[in-house]
């Protein structure tokens, strides 16, 4: 049964309980103690040791429901998207990255050889190699917890249900209802990011999708992510066209030289 996350950023209060719960359950080390000066974000990005990351966006514009304030502070708990077309999985030459029975994308650490092809294959910049063991790491969608019929640690810890875990079909229904509710409350900017293939053909939809109130770039998300292999067909085609063209040019050149000799 495909399961995943629906992360509703309008409910996020930036408490970072998801980050901490994730690190504790997965026993991940800290990223070091660095004050960044970037709002309240000191862990900066998803990487080999941070599998949930809360982004803080200070924005000189109100959320549509807060017309009185000229300012807003957007928060988003970012995570691996577990794409339906997963660039990392498709790039993995060893078969270490697999699609599980929950439809999530999982890196088997005992098979990963640390080649790093997956890192360049992710259109979101999620998967990362740990410099100490050289292996690729990212969110497992708590594969171990799911096997034991428990929800992922981040969703369990989220106090406001900004992170909702469940079957994808249910989550999509809930998300659609939430959008309708928010539009009714005047938050006209609310929309879903990556909820299905139609809205995000490059990934064919995300198993961890989001509700946003600003352009994806505002949250450091790509506006039109595409799994690299998706580009393979057109690439081959254009390569074929180019090759033919070059061939034709070569023939032409030879012909003209020969003609010149005449």
């Amino acid at each position: 049964m495909p399961t995943g996350f629906f992360t509703d950023t309008t409910l996020c209060i930036g408490c970072k309980a998801c980050e901490v719960a994730c690190k504790q359950w997965n026993q991940l080390p800290s990223d070091g103690y660095n004050f960044t000066g970037m709002s309240y974000d000191n862990t900066v990005q998803l990487d080999a040791s941070t599998w949930r990351h809360v982004a803080f966006v200070e924005r000189p514009a109100p959320v549509s429901e807060q017309p009185v304030n000229s300012f807003s502070w957007l928060m988003l708990s970012d995570v691996c998207k577990h794409c339906n077309r997963a660039g990392c999985l498709e790039n993995c030459p060893t078969g270490a990255i697999i699609r599980t029975e929950f439809d999530s994308v999982f890196v088997q650490p005992d098979i990963c050889n640390g080649c790093g092809y997956c890192v360049v294959g992710c259109p979101f910049g999620v998967i990362d190699r740990n410099p100490t063991d050289g292996l690729a790491w990212k969110c497992t969608l708590c594969y171990d917890r799911q096997k034991a019929h428990m929800e992922p640690a981040c969703a369990k810890a989220c106090p406001t249900d900004s992170i909702q875990f469940g079957e994808i079909a249910d989550l999509r229904t809930k998300a659609a209802a939430r959008i309708e509710q928010l539009h009714g409350q005047g938050v006209s900017a609310a929309y879903l990011y990556g909820a299905d293939e139609a809205s995000q053909p490059g990934t064919e939809g995300l198993n961890a999708f989001f509700l946003l109130v600003d352009r994806p770039e505002t949250y450091n998300l790509p506006p039109n992510p595409v799994a690299p292999a998706k580009r393979a067909g057109p690439s081959w085609a254009s390569m074929a066209v180019t090759s033919l063209g070059l061939l034709a040019a070569a023939f032409g050149a030879v012909a003209s030289v020969r003609g010149g000799r005449r």
Partner: protein, 850 residues
């Protein structure tokens, strides 16, 4: 609330999802503001003016909940003709005694009522209902609310100058924004709707903190938002069980269940103690049952009627023993040894330099904590040590550190803001030598008993005769619940307690938590299996009642104010109160019941006396006694302010507690040129208060790894501060450094055309732990609210400069000239003399109470 209580905030988000409007009033734009419908930036320290403005707006527009106000509040009560308001005396109430620096509240009384005994100093009345126990049935009432001396008219006059213009001038809140808040509150109150206030230490940590909350209670009374579902005032406490440690107090002036601590000069024997605390009307007529049962719990078979239930074993209060007073006494060499359990005062409270200087005078210090916190290592890792002013070899204090077990490593309860006792089970064994506080205290008690076993000194009977057999948390909860002495059967609640020695009870308000021999606090019936009040989830005091004063959810005749908001009501057919919750009124007392003149005991409680802990059964808009700084909340500036009080000549709360001494210098009362900026301090979600629970954990430490200050782009430009750079912040007490976070979330306010800058300082860091930094609280002065002696850390003045502070010897507390008399409160009659706060010091050895 989202910042400091993210788990509780889920219910705010739930309410928002159901259509509730969330308003957030805070100097900063925080994580709460981010999801609120409206954020209102306010000048730190000006909330009474803001809330007082709302009171005035409600009264001026006539949209108070008339029937509720007349039925349940003391608005109709007529006050003595000696009373003078701050309107008459430019910021003072009648009864100010400039020799004693305190009020005599006699003139604040109800007309025709002998004021009786009243606490005139902090330690005599703080936090206890003593002042509410005298007979106060106000016979002189005007239910038309027109009498010029009735509370309603006094209230109108008192707040008449708190206009939207004045709010703007005082708080920096534009008038239209202010009116939007007031209107939203009014529109969401009344028969069909209710509004709630949530506050935390942003309201309490001021020299007028208690009055901040009083102003909110006045709004809630006028709008009819008390005792009704969705209403109320919620104190979001600083720790998971601070409510519990007020109920079963860690406070020096209370016994469990808000029974008064005996006072040395007044409560000389049990008869006198009963006389001073036993009320003639209202629920406190039951007082003897609670104190006798408590003494029976403590002294078992040794407590008999003949020996006054061992009352004489109790220590008697000789003065104020609150935190700041005790530390000041410690600095004077009057405190020999000290226990600090689960607290990190040199980081978490005020003027750390002074506190460490005081601790260096101790002979011994016991610290129980998870980590070797700054307080435990004050002798070797302090700013004074770093600067080379103090050498650890010179500190003679012997420090005993005991590692403590965390809440996951022991059984017990947390009591939350809703008075809900929730049991938590031990999940893992504590590591190494870590032990629970209960283990420690039990063992300590046994050792003391062994030590005094063969003593013949009568004073040691207090230890010899003490029952000390509660070894587990379960034993403790059973004793708290109480039992009948004969068979140790749990009592079902405090209504079963007796004053004849046949019952024992450790805390009367918690009685019933072990009803039927079942740990009621451990109940976890899911919401889906019970109604929306969820009475079978854990247990709330008193009597598992979820909303206090819920009698007020029905009108004078006992009918719900509206169908939508019905909660408890009078069932005439069965002649009893019924509803979703346990009714907060005597179960079979009809709404029409009025006590006779000669009524006694519980018969004095009328059918509309929803607030029966007050002797008159009414909620108090006007507090005729019990407060040190006036019967009505009044806007006073913080001890150190950026401006003159715009409303009154009286600058600060006249009764505030000051410590005028070299180690605790004050700035000028307003506009001190050396300290021109307004500071507020606060917590972040990522850390827990003074950091003992978070700075040693890598997963939390990495989230907020350094001390920082939050400043607006405007002040950054003005002072040359760079985002990610360093700033040095100074007061007359200390100089600290912090990384700079420039953010639009801190907006300068515009007051009288001038920009007012506020600087935000989180206070979590110290010299120990995985992540370190200077402590914001080094900057804060010893200044206290006169009612509860809390420090003023949420609004004070300081200077900020770019760059890091010096590392060597430099200006430290007490060496700077910070204040000058003529700048302080004017005129001289209101000059506040240095208080001794009841402590018998070397210089005050005659022992007179101050």
């Amino acid at each position: 609330m989202a910042e400091c209580h993210p788990v509780g905030f889920q219910w705010v988000m739930e309410a928002k999802r159901r259509g509730a409007k969330i308003i957030h009033v805070d100097p900063r734009f925080t994580r709460t503001s981010a999801v609120a419908d409206l954020h209102v930036p306010i000048r730190a320290g000006s909330d009474i003016a803001f809330l007082g403005g709302i009171v005035r707006h409600i009264l001026e527009t006539g949209r108070y909940f008339h029937d509720y106000v007349v039925t349940f509040t003391n608005a109709p009560a007529i006050i003595t003709d000696e009373f003078r308001d701050t309107e008459d005396l430019d910021g003072l109430f009648s009864g100010w005694d400039s020799d004693k620096n305190q009020y005599d509240p006699k003139s604040w009384a109800y007309e025709g009522v002998e004021p009786g005994q009243s606490g005139t100093t902090h330690e005599q009345s703080t936090g206890e209902p003593l002042s509410e126990r005298a007979q106060m049935q106000h016979k002189h009432r005007d239910e038309t609310l027109q009498h010029p001396r009735c509370v309603f008219q006094i209230l109108k006059r008192h707040y008449s100058r708190y206009t939207p213009e004045m709010v703007e001038e005082t708080c920096g809140v534009p008038q239209d924004l202010f009116l939007q808040v007031a209107e939203t509150l009014i529109q969401n109150s009344g028969r069909e709707r209710t509004s709630a206030f949530c506050y935390a230490v942003g309201w309490t940590q001021h020299s007028v903190g208690a009055q901040y909350i009083r102003t909110a209670t006045i709004i809630q009374q006028l709008l009819g938002n008390m005792g009704r579902p969705g209403g109320g005032i919620l104190a979001l406490r600083g720790h998971a069980s601070i409510q519990g440690s007020t109920d079963i107090p860690t406070l020096y002036n209370l016994l469990p269940g808000y029974l008064a601590m005996p006072k040395a000069k007044k409560d000389v024997n049990f008869a006198k103690y009963l006389e001073n605390n036993h009320a003639k009307g209202g629920w406190w007529t039951e007082f003897p049952k609670y104190i006798v049962s408590l003494l029976k719990a403590w002294y078992g078979e040794h407590a008999t009627r003949e020996n006054d239930w061992c009352y004489d074993y109790l220590p008697l209060l000789t003065g104020d023993h609150s935190h700041m007073t005790t530390y000041a006494a410690m600095a004077d060499g009057l405190v020999k040894g000290y226990f600090i359990v689960g607290e990190n005062p040199v980081v978490g409270s005020m003027n750390g330099g002074f506190q460490r200087a005081a601790m260096r005078k101790l002979e011994w210090l016991v610290v129980r904590d998870f980590q070797l916190i700054e307080t435990a290592e004050f002798w070797k890792s302090s700013p004074e040590n770093e600067r080379g002013e103090v050498s650890s070899e010179d500190v003679q204090t012997e420090v005993f550190f005991f590692p403590a077990a965390a809440h996951t490593e022991k059984d017990g309860t947390f009591t939350n803001t809703q008075r809900l006792l929730q049991w938590h089970h031990q999940a893992v064994e504590p590591p190494g030598d870590c032990r629970s506080d209960l283990d420690f205290v039990y063992d300590l008690g046994q050792r003391l008993k062994a030590l005094y076993l063969s003593s013949n000194d009568p004073k040691d009977l207090a230890i010899q005769n003490l029952t000390w057999d509660a070894k587990t948390s379960d034993d403790v909860l059973r004793e708290i619940n109480g039992w009948t002495v004969a068979d140790r059967a749990p009592v079902e609640g405090y209504t079963k307690l007796k004053d004849d020695g046949s019952t024992a009870c450790g805390c009367w308000i918690y009685s019933g938590c072990y009803k039927d021999g079942v740990n009621q606090t451990a109940r976890r019936k899911p919401a889906s299996e019970q109604d929306w009040v969820a009475a079978e989830w854990a247990w709330s005091w008193p009597m598992n009642r979820r909303i206090l004063y819920n009698r007020a959810s029905a009108d004078a005749e006992g009918r719900p104010w509206s169908d939508r908001k019905r909660y408890v009501w009078w069932d005439d057919a069965h002649h009893k109160w019924t509803g979703f919750d346990v009714p907060d009124i005597i179960a079979d007392r009809p709404p029409s019941y009025r006590p006779a003149e000669d009524a006694n005991g519980l018969d004095t409680i009328g059918g509309t006396d929803a607030f029966m802990m007050n002797a008159d059964g009414k909620s108090w808009i006007f507090a005729p006694k019990g407060l040190q700084d006036g019967p009505l909340p009044t806007h006073y500036e913080p001890q150190e302010s950026v401006m003159r009080n715009p409303i009154y000549g009286q600058q600060c709360d006249p009764s505030r507690m000051e410590w005028r001494r070299r180690e605790n210098p004050y700035h000028k009362a307003w506009a001190d040129p050396a300290y021109p900026y307004l500071i507020t301090t606060y917590r972040l979600t990522e850390h827990h208060t003074a950091g003992g629970m978070s700075r040693w954990l890598q997963w939390l430490a990495e989230l907020q790894p350094e001390m920082f200050c939050e400043v607006s782009p405007e002040i950054a430009a003005e002072k040359g501060l760079h985002n990610g750079g360093w700033a040095t912040i100074s007061t007359a007490r200390a100089v600290i450094e912090a990384r700079v976070l420039v953010t639009e979330r801190i907006k300068p306010l515009r007051i009288r055309g001038r920009l007012l800058h506020q600087i935000g300082l989180p206070y979590h860091w110290g010299s120990k732990g995985l992540v370190r930094g200077d402590s914001a609280n080094e900057l804060i002065a010893f200044v206290g609210d006169p009612n509860v002696s809390i420090q003023e850390s949420k609004a004070f003045t300081a200077n900020i400069e770019p760059g890091r502070r010096g590392r060597g010897r430099g200006p430290i507390a007490g060496t700077q000239e910070g204040e000058s008399g003529q700048w302080r409160d004017q005129p001289p009659a209101r000059f506040k003399k240095p208080g001794k706060h009841g402590v018998v010091t070397a210089r005050n050895i005659s022992g007179e109470e101050t």
